[in-house]
């Protein structure tokens, strides 16, 4: 394949990944690394570097439209970013030391978990939880616009959420993904943050987290301009289009298809990792 063909095909694939990622809310980065390594035979380290860059682009590109709706909570985001950036730094250093087959296996496991999580029904939103003293001292409790007006919420279990976010950051730094699955676990389930608040806040955090590991990746020579260019432009274009048509699209069946794709890619990554093909 010539560079022109390669660039064009990777850009189209990245565009579709970004579009589906935005439409289903599952993120495009998570399918990019397996697609690049399995179908384009790109070394997993180059693939992770390129994916990381595209994660920053989508997170920052979408932030402006998210914040205007008034769901995100910058205090929760900033406090948890201490954990995610620290974890991301650690993950990026680890990535330069562990064998690529181990990276593939961890990636496969994360994909399977994401596929499982995307099929699990969302637990019903809890209302009027008592305020947690630590969360109150950290001024994390807030409110957001709801159908019946402003709805306030009280954040719970800050230490558990903080520790899980450290893990999310480490995975993001290790695999070059936004690791939305772990963030959902930390913010929705441990900290009991309302779904819309946690999704938009975590979108904000993803870019900052990825920036923490991107410096390490760039200086280690994992970010190739020729590969990152079509990936970044493609994912950015796809996700921007996706967030525009999100309101009109019927996403339920799309979500099913996309989670099946994630499942298959996860199995393939595990297979390749265990048989030393990566």
């Amino acid at each position: 394949m010539t560079i022109l063909e390669f660039t064009a095909v990777v850009a189209i694939v990245s565009f579709v990944a970004g579009l589906l990622g935005a439409l289903t809310g599952l993120g495009g980065g998570v399918v990019l690394v397996p697609l690049l390594t399995i179908f384009f035979h790109v070394d997993i380290r180059y693939a992770i570097g390129a994916s990381l860059v595209s994660v920053i682009a989508t997170s920052s590109g979408a932030a402006a439209s998210y914040v205007k709706e008034g769901f995100s909570n910058i205090r929760i985001g900033m406090f948890l970013e201490i954990a995610t950036t620290f974890g991301a730094l650690l993950g990026a250093f680890l990535a330069t030391r562990i064998p690529t087959s181990a990276l593939a296996i961890i990636f496969g496991a994360v994909l399977l978990y994401s596929a499982y999580l995307s099929r699990k029904p969302r637990p019903p939103a809890q209302r009027s939880l008592p305020p947690d003293p630590l969360a109150t001292r950290l001024r994390m409790n807030g409110s957001f616009p709801d159908l019946e007006g402003e709805r306030s919420y009280n954040v719970q279990h800050v230490p558990a959420g903080f520790s899980l976010m450290f893990g999310a950051g480490a995975l993001s730094g290790l695999l070059g993904i936004g690791s939305g699955a772990v963030k959902v676990l930390a913010m929705d389930q441990a900290m009991q943050i309302p779904f819309k608040v946690s999704t938009t806040t975590s979108n904000f955090m993803i870019g900052v987290t990825a920036a923490a590991s991107a410096g390490v990746y760039l200086s280690r020579g994992y970010v190739d301009p020729g590969l990152s260019m079509p990936v970044m432009l493609g994912v950015l274009g796809g996700s921007l289009l996706g967030s525009r048509i999100l309101v009109k699209a019927e996403t339920k069946s799309l979500r099913l298809v996309f989670s099946l794709v994630i499942l298959v890619l996860g199995l393939q990554m595990l297979y390749n990792g265990f048989w030393g093909k990566i």
Binding site: T2, I3, S60, G61, F79, G207, A211, A214, Y222, P225
Partner: protein
């Protein structure tokens, strides 16, 4: 459905946080909107630089074979800020792409830096400290890991 009609559960216990003045000149939302716009302009600028670099790169190397099977690591031209700037000056397409990617990485870092100003305007000392910690980690990653050399 039914719980929507039962505000009495919440009514006797208003959240015990201190009452906040209704009209603050700098509230979280206003700061966030400004930061959101900042992020978007950063991404647009970065994407434009990458696209410009892509045109130069493709016009010169379009017909060479693409091969990313073997990991070699990038040469220092594409790994350090000074190397990237030098390759931009010498007119290389890939140098420009890498400059665009550096701008992209800098965007969320700028967001964090401006958040410090936002929290300072709100006189929230605790969050100024938290944000400084995040900024320190980010700057360490960008400058301390060898990229600045």
């Amino acid at each position: 459905m039914g719980e929507d009609l039962m505000p009495d559960e919440q009514a006797p216990a208003p959240p015990p946080r201190p009452p906040q003045p209704q009209l603050r000149p700098w509230d979280d939302h206003r700061i966030e909107v400004i930061l959101g716009d900042l992020l978007r302009s950063g991404v647009v600028l970065a994407a434009a630089v990458v696209l410009w670099g892509a045109c130069i790169y493709l016009s010169r190397h379009a017909h060479e074979p693409a091969d990313y099977r073997v990991f070699r690591g990038e040469p220092s031209d594409f790994r350090t800020i000074s190397g990237v700037i030098q390759s931009v000056i010498s007119g290389r397409g890939r140098g420009l792409i890498q400059l665009g990617l550096l701008l992209l990485i800098a965007t969320p870092i700028a967001r964090v830096a401006f958040s410090i100003v936002g929290f300072a305007l709100e006189r929230d000392r605790m969050y100024v400290v938290f944000t400084l910690i995040v900024l320190a980690i980010l700057l360490y990653s960008l400058l301390g890991s060898g990229i600045g050399v």
